[in-house]
């Protein structure tokens, strides 16, 4: 079988072995948890509960009203303690609902599954996915209902199920693929029905051969094709994955719809199946807790809103010398400063280790490694210089907005320049200027 891939990219150390063979453990919900009302790409949800209200597991506590928004559900049963601003993993302080767990785990009685999910119409599927508050679980947390609504003039022919998990250390998606392959394949079929696509491709990286074999076996009585991809970062980046599997280039500034493709992460696909078949909203997810600084690395099924501290305690606690806590993978994850921060829908991992405090930053020696490794074909060192000298027009001409912030350039930079940091700064400046000009 031919192994598919994309040009450029890097090979960081994988370090997946610590949690590779560990089955998903269910973590008991904590006594108190805090659920932020913004856990996705877009506008925050409106709170539906107030202090003192009794809530069930799966009860909607925040309503997503805008187009790019998603509903939020309670992940335990109990009493609402407060709706107040709380630390958010992405660094802002966001309105959040704090709930005291009564320990009963009463499921909302009105939650209902469907007898034959495959007979649903696309609109019914989208409605259920929207009701369940599903967002992309790969990290970007894009509202899934939007992703299932291709515009009329852009028909979708292929559904790609992203099982790459190219970030080092993370194994949550891998474990899901091993333990719930049928649910994922059924979810993929639902995505296919919702988008009107013809074919399904499941893309799995070479270092997850076991998952690949299982899917090949299970997909026999299914229409899905299972493709093996080279282990390379960022193989799971949407545009690179589409190129690797189909040799189609998503136009600059465009969406996968533009080339007739929808990409869903395996975790999202399973969540879609759970929502459609069981009526279960997204109130828990699988994360990898790993890194040198974690005593007992694990793959854990956690309730959304569980504070980091409880998750870490469940995994044996932090080691003494830990100085870096990251939500997500080591390449694109966000550094955290507080253990009170809650797990959100987009949390794929919680990692901790001892990192060097700083590096001596040399001048750029124009070695070209950032160019060699950039999966988007950009010139990161040049973008960095444009941003440094506030030349935003040139930065835009050189494609700064095409950057996906995968970190391949900064990883490979021998001068240890904070390339991604500068590029992010430039992107933010350009976007805020645009907003100002619009207003």
């Amino acid at each position: 079988m031919k192994v598919k891939t994309f040009p450029h990219g890097i090979h960081p150390p994988e370090i997946k072995e610590r949690t590779f063979d560990k089955a998903i453990e269910v973590m008991p919900p904590p006594e108190k948890l805090t659920i932020p009302l913004l856990q996705h790409f877009g506008s925050p949800a409106e709170p539906l509960v107030k202090k003192g209200d009794e809530v069930f597991v799966g009860q909607k506590i925040g309503e997503g009203t805008a187009l790019f928004s998603a509903s939020i559900h309670s992940s335990v049963s109990g009493k609402v303690l407060s709706t107040d601003n709380h630390i958010h993993p992405l660094g802002h302080s966001i309105l959040a609902v704090t709930i005291a767990n009564d320990g009963e785990d009463h499921l909302l009685p009105s939650l209902q599954g469907t007898k034959d999910p495959f007979s649903l119409t696309p609109d019914e599927i989208r409605q259920r996915v929207k009701e369940a508050g599903i967002v992309g679980l790969g990290g970007a947390a894009f509202p899934t209902a939007v992703k299932l609504s291709p515009p009329k003039d852009k028909p979708v022919d292929t559904v790609i199920i992203n099982g790459c998990e190219c970030e080092p250390l993370l194994t949550a998606d891998y474990r899901l693929m091993l333990e719930h392959p049928e649910d994922i394949l059924k979810g993929a079929e639902i995505v296919r029905l919702a988008t009107g696509a013809e074919s399904i491709i499941v893309g799995i990286e070479n270092n997850k051969k076991k998952a690949f074999k299982i899917f090949q076996e299970k997909a026999k009585n299914n229409a899905a094709e299972v493709a093996l991809l080279k282990t390379k970062y960022p193989q799971g980046a949407e545009k690179n994955l589409i190129y690797a599997l189909l040799r189609r280039e998503v136009p600059r500034g465009g969406l996968p719809f533009d080339v007739g493709v929808v990409v869903q992460n395996v975790g999202t696909t399973k969540a879609i199946w759970d929502a459609v078949s069981q009526g279960e909203p997204l109130y828990q997810r699988v994360i990898t807790v790993s890194g040198n600084g974690i005593e007992q690395p694990k793959n854990v099924l956690v309730r959304i809103g569980t504070p980091f501290q409880n998750v870490i305690n469940f995994c044996g606690g932090l080691k003494e010398n830990v100085n870096l806590l990251v939500m997500g993978g080591p390449m694109m994850g966000v550094a955290q400063w507080s253990l009170e921060t809650p797990i959100i829908k987009g949390t794929s991992g919680l990692l901790a280790w001892k990192a060097p405090l700083s590096y001596f930053e040399y001048s750029c020696i124009r070695c070209g490694r950032c160019v060699e490794h950039c999966p988007m074909g950009l010139v990161p060192s040049q973008l960095m210089k444009f941003v440094k000298f506030d030349n935003l027009i040139e930065a835009e001409n050189w494609g700064i907005l095409d950057c996906v912030e995968c970190g391949s350039c900064q990883y490979s930079c021998p001068a240890k320049i904070l390339l991604v940091h500068w590029i992010r700064l430039g992107k933010n400046k350009i976007i805020s200027l645009r907003r100002k000009n619009k207003a």
Binding site: K239, E249, N323, V334, Q336, Y362, I365
Partner: protein, 324 residues
Amino acid sequence: MTNKTFILQSSPHFKDKDSVPKIMYAVIFSLMPAAFASIYFFRLKAVVMLFSCVVVSLATEAIFLWLRKKPFHSLLDGSSVITGLILAMTLPPSLSLELAVIGAAAAIAIGKQVFGGLGHNIFNPALVGRAFLQTSFPVAMTTWIPPVTAKINTATYATPLANLKFEEAVAQGTLTPLKDLFWGNIGGCLGEASAITLLIGALYLLFRRVIDWRIPVGIMVSLSAFTGVFWLISPEKYASPLFHILSGGLMIGAFFMATDMVTSPISPLGSWIYALGIGLIVGLIRLFGGFPEGVMYSILFMNAFVPLLNRYARPQILGERSKR
């Protein structure tokens, strides 16, 4: 809850182990076989020359860092050592020590520090030093002595390329054999003494992915194509492409000087244009120019184009080809 402090930094949180000093020391290491070969062929003269050029380069760098109030950290990154080493290897072994010292100081001062130090220079610093000497002391820079191992007792000795240019060596049948060019034992600059030792170092750099393979390949392809045409038309007058590749400063230039990261293009397409240009100009100078050798000037000439190449030969962005 335990109170713990965490560092906040932007992603990525992983970094490759390679660093600027590691790259520089790899280049120094790769120059060692050729340096030892030059010592074997020219004995004490080579030792003195290599040593003094490196010391003067470091000293000049230190003085400039002190004047510019910059951290001395960059003294240890190895880049000035490379400049000194490469300069020494491009000098005739008969050159007097004072001139070598002037060359090394000029290389760092004019070639590197006036632009702002490592990473900011346009031209290869070692070649700037050499060009400075070539224009200031043309006679001393073109006086050659035979290697000690040649056991010839003459004061002066022509390089294989000078022999080719001024003595009509092809017609006379006195062209230096390829075997000698490859293994050594010829007249010329210190680093030109033996092609094989340069090749060993270059293979190490290619294997470690320190240098861009496109540059040496591009230079050799275009030089071979250019000289090959003339050789095929009249082999009784022109030397073969292989002779051109193995003689003079082509090997050390293609592998160690044109590939200097700071002064070579950043994109693959740029590298190809740059390399093909160097090879073509070397061929032009050697066949039709006033000098027997043209590697130095052709690299400096193409260095000047690098900012332009970086601007216009940039890679294609994913999605640039398709329409929305």
